[in-house]
């Protein structure tokens, strides 16, 4: 029954609308969203384990307007990541958002966004991806401006303008592509290969359009500045959306575009990836540099995200098996790591009202478990073996070397140093400054917040020690491409 793959998309969306219509009170709402996200996760696991090669046309209007779902390995992995992290974020946001009024609207869009993101994961062709991509912008916008302040509205406007600009570029690219290939379905190796090779510059132009267009959501320099501005949103939004859903959707779309539509051989023929490589390297370095200068903790993490996304994009522009695996691994690992980091920072903001670096002296002693998780996640991000961050960077470096790009490992090393430079001050300030430990009373966050944080930290460690299952899955997808 192939209809089942539509359910993980519709279930969260319907839950969201349910919240909007019946407006339950605090307790009922929590029950609804917790059960919905868990159910969704189980459904997705079921689909991954038991359903292979399913596909479904939601609505087929004509030969291009074909909303078509076809989860393949990469799509399934992304969907699992999204749904698992959504459960944890649900618990976290219940505590973080507390019992304010008008939270039903917030959670409505929260749930709708989950459905839309899974729609992106399960998309079977480019037009479906584009549809869900646009819907993602629309459903995340109310979350960004949730606070309602003037600054929030400004940030929201910027987000909308950047996103629509990117989506327009993507649409242009899709139209040009469709005019040549008459087909937009995701096929390993790309669909262009089946069409007689026309003007390579034409495909170069399409590639650049699509890369820049999707790159807006993936915070590619110079389209990255919406991301720090969007930090004005509540922390659950910043962490989930801007570490997981929105930016990773951009990356995911980039991956689809590169390997499943255009095909890396075509791109390599046009040398498009060399031009984009420059932008990617700038992204990696600039993100890290700017992160060091940020005093606001969330903004620091935001620039860190920009830089880390550059790593993933690096995996996507170097066309080697290893770098592809590295990129995909980092897509997953960065999500888990960054969400941990954001959750910790959010806990600090919520419980102690502190947002700047200089304010958090000694906080490690007041919230030891929280800051310990932060430390673990930071170590993972810097890339110290045997943590998961190291595994992904290792693959990326190997891929670079296989291609003969010797400065890729150098850049990775340099940026690891920079990562340490912006993360370690937080840790040292938290643990080694302020009043001595025995003078301070411990007041950890509520379990709803604390448990996800610790769970995530542990997850990162486990993924570092036992990444093989994941690697095998990604490798099986990669083998169809190379």
């Amino acid at each position: 029954m192939d209809l089942i793959i539509v359910v993980p998309i519709m279930l969260p969306i319907l839950t969201g609308f349910l919240l909007g219509i019946i407006k339950p009170n605090y307790n009922n709402r929590n029950t609804i969203i917790i059960s919905s996200t868990i159910l969704n996760f189980i459904l997705i696991l079921y689909i991954i384990l038991f359903k292979h090669n399913v596909s479904f046309h939601i609505v087929k209007i004509n030969e291009f307007l074909d909303i078509y779902l076809m989860p393949d390995n990469i799509g399934k992995i992304f969907a699992t990541l999204v749904s698992a992290l959504w459960i944890l974020t649900t618990f976290y946001s219940i505590d973080y958002m507390g019992n304010q009024k008008n939270l039903n609207k917030f959670f409505m869009f929260f749930m709708i966004t989950e459905g839309v993101t899974i729609g992106i994961a399960f998309s079977g062709n480019l037009i479906t991806l584009y549809l869900f991509y646009e819907l993602l912008t629309l459903s995340t916008f109310p979350l960004v401006i949730e606070k309602g302040s003037e600054k929030a509205l400004q940030a929201g406007k910027k987000y909308l303008i950047y996103s629509f600009f990117g989506a327009t570029m993507v649409l242009f690219g899709i139209i040009l592509l469709f005019s040549q290939t008459q087909n937009l379905a995701f096929t390993p190796g790309g669909i262009v290969g089946s069409v007689p090779m026309g003007n390579p510059n034409f495909y170069l132009f399409i590639y650049i359009l699509l890369f820049l267009g999707f790159g807006v959501k993936a915070a590619l320099v110079p389209f990255h500045s919406w991301l720090p501005s969007a930090m004005v949103a509540p922390t659950p939004v910043s962490s989930l959306l801007h570490a997981v859903a929105v930016v990773k959707s951009g990356i995911f779309a980039l991956g689809r575009m590169t390997y499943y539509i255009l095909g890396w051989e075509v791109i390599e023929h046009t040398k498009g990836n060399d031009y984009m490589l420059i932008l990617v390297l700038i992204t990696i370095l600039m993100g890290s540099f700017l992160a060091i200068h940020q005093q606001n903790l969330k903004k620091r993490l935001a620039y860190s995200t920009i830089s880390q996304l550059g790593y993933i994009m690096l995996g996507l522009v170097i066309f080697e098996n290893s770098s592809y695996i590295g990129g995909m691994l980092h897509m997953l690992f960065h999500a888990t790591i960054k969400i941990t980091l954001f959750f910790c920072v959010g806990a600090i903001m919520h419980y102690e009202n502190k947002t700047e670096l200089k304010e958090i002296e000694g906080i490690g002693k007041r919230m030891p478990k929280t800051m310990l998780s932060f430390t673990v996640a930071s170590i993972c991000l810097i890339g110290i073996p045997p943590m998961n961050g190291f595994v992904s960077k290792w693959f990326l470096a190997i891929g670079g070397l296989e291609r003969g790009n010797y400065f890729v490992p150098i850049i990775l090393l340099l940026s690891a140093l920079l990562t340490a430079a912006y993360l370690i001050p937080i840790i040292s300030s938290a643990f080694f400054k302020g009043k001595p430990a025995h003078d301070v009373e411990v007041s950890e966050p509520n379990n709803f917040m604390l448990v996800p944080i610790v769970l995530l930290a542990v997850l990162n460690v486990i993924l570092g020690f036992f990444p093989n299952a994941l690697i095998t899955m990604i490798q099986s997808a990669a083998s169809k491409l190379f």
């Binding site: 209007i61 649409l171 139209i175």
Partner: protein, 483 residues
């Protein structure tokens, strides 16, 4: 029997308008008008089904094959457009049931219904007729009834708008009449099919004349269809008229003239002939400038209805652009956009009417926070706006997509940038209304939830219109293949 439907439609509408003229009670007036429009709507459905089966219908009034007789030609495009127009008019009338009292003084209400009937009759006449002079007569009738509709509301701005519209329209009609005279003098026929035969065989020797005729028709019909730069009457006229009238004007009236242009360009002069003249490039240019300029002007408007009116200018740009491409696919998209825009713009105008009525203000900045007060209404507005912006599945997106594909077909790829730029611009003026309506703390401060709720019964026609927006999008492929 079905063959006579076009004639029946027009006659019924005019007949009922006369009856309304002598009806005293308001209730009966509305009943008459409603009845006549429902009949035309149902007959249009019949007409469409017959045309779908039999390709096209030709109806001659009077002797068959007379050279100068009145002839109606209903092909698939005419039938679909006729159905759309009757449907939209029906919904507008349903809406006006409750809103006409508020904008038009008591004595004039029956005039409103009379004028609407005559307007619809004349619009249908232009669509159906295959005969140049017949079309001219109906064009004139529609101009006058449209002017009448604007002037129903007795304010200063209305009078000024009507004067402007009347003068510009008359210039347009004059040019059209000149063109008809010219064509008659060259070909000796007034019937479009007959003229086509003559032109095809002999246009080579009359290149200059054909060029002049094409130019006259384009400018003349262009003035009446608010093609850039001849659009300056539109914002005043459409924003000051009573709301149902604005909806009818923007959604229906300006469309028939451009449809007439399509008939003339492509049925009277064939595609090959028209493409060999520079006039197509000029049309293309005007269309593009209209698209961009209309949207830019809309961004700067402070009043809601003026903004939507400028948006109409931009949308007419799309249609003209489609014509200017000079291919069958371009024309098919232009026709599709006529239908899509008709349902979308009418619903937007009707919704704006509701919002203006409840906030007692025409300005956009007074609409802040209206999302909390009238959530369903603003939600419907959002849907219409999404179609304008180009969210997939809705007709706006489909028009843009196919227009872009048609551009590539003609080999003029950079034009796609103009299409995409104009949809981005649409975001800039539609979205602030939605955002300020639904979100923003100081916007929502002090607004009581659903305090300005509209009784559902008034919203139902809008519901139908919005539903049809979605349906038009969903069935787009079938529709486009028809044209």
């Amino acid at each position: 029997m079905i063959k006579f439907i076009p004639l029946i439609n027009i006659l019924i509408l005019i007949l009922f308008s006369f009856i309304i003229l002598i009806t005293k009670k308001e209730k009966n007036v509305k009943l008459m008008s409603f009845a006549s429009n429902i009949i035309t709507f149902l007959l249009s459905i019949l007409l469409l089904t017959r045309v779908l089966l039999e390709d096209f219908i030709v109806l001659n009034l009077g002797k068959n094959n007379s050279l100068l007789g009145i002839q109606f030609y209903i092909g698939s495009s005419e039938a679909v457009i006729s159905l759309t127009f009757t449907f939209v008019m029906l919904m507008i009338l349903w809406f006006s049931n409750s809103s006409v009292k508020k904008e038009v003084s008591e004595i004039r209400i029956s005039f409103f219904y009379i004028l609407i009937n005559i307007l619809l009759a004349s619009l249908l006449g232009v669509i159906y007729s295959n005969d140049l002079f017949n079309s001219y007569v109906f064009i004139e009738v529609s101009t006058l009834s449209a002017c009448g509709l604007i002037i129903l509301k007795d304010k200063k701005e209305n009078i000024k708008a009507t004067v402007k519209y009347l003068i510009m329209s008359t210039i347009g009609s004059g040019l059209v009449l000149m063109a008809i005279a010219y064509i008659y003098s060259i070909t000796g026929h007034l019937n479009i099919t007959n003229i086509n035969e003559v032109i095809v065989s002999s246009y080579q020797s009359h290149q200059n004349a054909v060029l002049i005729i094409l130019g006259l028709f384009t400018v003349g019909l262009g003035i009446k269809s608010a093609v850039f730069p001849l659009h300056s009457w539109l914002p005043d006229a459409h924003s000051s008229a009573p709301t149902p009238a604005s909806a009818a004007l923007s959604a229906l009236v300006i469309k028939v003239y451009v449809f007439m242009l399509i008939k003339i360009l492509f049925r009277m002069f064939t595609y090959e002939i028209v493409n060999s003249f520079i006039i197509m490039d000029i049309i293309l240019l005007l269309g593009s400038m209209g698209m961009i300029f209309g949207s830019i002007m809309a961004i700067f408007q402070k009043e809601l209805k003026r903004m939507i009116a400028y948006s109409s200018v931009a949308q007419m740009g799309y249609i003209v652009f489609g014509i200017g491409l000079g291919t069958i696919s371009g024309t098919a998209i232009a026709t599709y956009h006529i239908i899509g825009h008709a349902v979308t713009k009418s619903s937007l105008f009707l919704i704006s009417g509701l919002m203006i009525e409840k906030t007692s203000s025409k300005k956009i900045e007074d609409l802040k926070g209206i999302g909390r007060e009238m959530p369903i209404t603003l939600g419907l507005f959002t849907l219409g706006a999404f179609s304008m912006v180009g969210i997939p599945i809705l007709p706006g997106f489909i028009s843009k997509w196919y227009l872009s594909l048609a551009c590539i077909e003609v080999g003029r790829v950079p034009l796609i940038l103009i299409i995409l730029a104009s949809s981005l611009l649409n975001v800039l003026y539609y979205f602030p209304i939605i955002i300020n309506g639904f979100f923003g703390n100081e916007n929502l401060d002090g607004k009581i939830y659903k305090s300005k709720k509209i009784e559902l019964s008034r919203l139902i026609p809008i519901f139908f219109l919005v539903l049809s927006i979605i349906l038009v999008g969903a069935f787009s492929s079938k529709l486009i293949n028809l044209f």
